[in-house]
């Protein structure tokens, strides 16, 4: 308590202000957030690693390696039709959810069902598409008349 009082008395209120704003903005508080976001992005976008490697000893090709690898989150893998391990039940709710036609909201980036995002608005941040805006404008005009 005495410490904070001293800080205030020294006129370093900027530090206090910084603390308060960091409370208000919890998404950017630590550098592990950056790593988590980066992993999130990689899994979301998917990563393809393809390699052809040939090893030859004294002019004779001895070993050939062909790698076709794909790394992705479940949802991305399902959308791109990657093969799942045998025994995976393709009738579960997660599969139905993944197969829905979804699009990332241009403002907040959350995945929203395409129909809803295009015709109404983003349920997370309220972003509206040009189509929804013009339709709502027409509706408002009709109501006025």
């Amino acid at each position: 308590m005495r410490n904070t009082g001293a800080l205030g008395a020294d006129g370093t209120t900027d530090q206090m202000g910084g603390e308060i704003t960091s409370f208000l903005n919890p998404t950017k508080e630590s550098d592990t957030g950056g790593l988590a976001e980066a992993i999130d992005k990689i899994l979301d976008k998917g990563l393809v690693i393809n390699a052809d490697i040939a090893v030859s000893v004294s002019g004779v090709e001895l070993l050939g390696i062909k790698i076709r690898a794909a790394l992705a989150s479940f949802e991305t893998a399902a959308r791109y039709g990657l093969e799942f391990p045998s025994g995976t039940n393709l009738e579960t709710g997660a599969w139905k959810e993944a197969m829905k036609d979804k699009e990332a909201c241009p403002q907040c980036g959350k995945m929203v069902e395409r129909e809803q995002l295009l015709e109404d608005m983003c349920p997370w941040c309220g972003w509206e598409s040009a189509k929804a805006k013009s339709r709502k404008k027409v509706l408002a005009k009709v109501e006025l008349q």
Binding site: D31, G34, E37, A38, K41, I49, A54, R79, Y80, P106
Partner: protein
């Protein structure tokens, strides 16, 4: 907060850019001993995001189902030149982009 935010976004942005552009690592190593070829290694490697991989036609692992939603979208939909969101080419041409309102006919409806 002001100091941290560019750092956070830079890692993400760098990854974003690398994955979107794709990385090709092409290497050939040759080891000679007294004029005799001893060992040769040839590696052709590429690393990219799924989207870029499909655009440049990389091979996917065996068993990939090319009727999955993402592949169908690629055939039936076209990205808007302004916002990049995908929509049907017919809609894009006749009514403009339904996402951002872009229209290539300046006085079109």
């Amino acid at each position: 907060m002001v100091i941290l935010s560019p750092e956070n976004s830079s890692l993400e942005e760098v990854l974003d850019r690398i994955l979107d552009k794709g990385v090709v690592i092409d290497a050939s190593v040759r080891v000679n001993l007294i004029g005799v070829d001893l060992l040769g290694i040839k590696a052709r490697t590429i690393l990219s995001s799924f989207k870029t991989a499909t655009e440049i036609g990389l091979g996917f692992p065996e068993g990939t189902n090319f009727d999955a939603p993402a592949w169908r979208d690629m055939i039936t939909k076209q990205p808007c030149p302004v916002c990049g969101m995908k929509s049907r080419p017919k809609d894009l041409e006749e009514h403009g982009c339904p996402w951002c309102g872009w229209n290539y006919r300046p006085n079109g409806r």
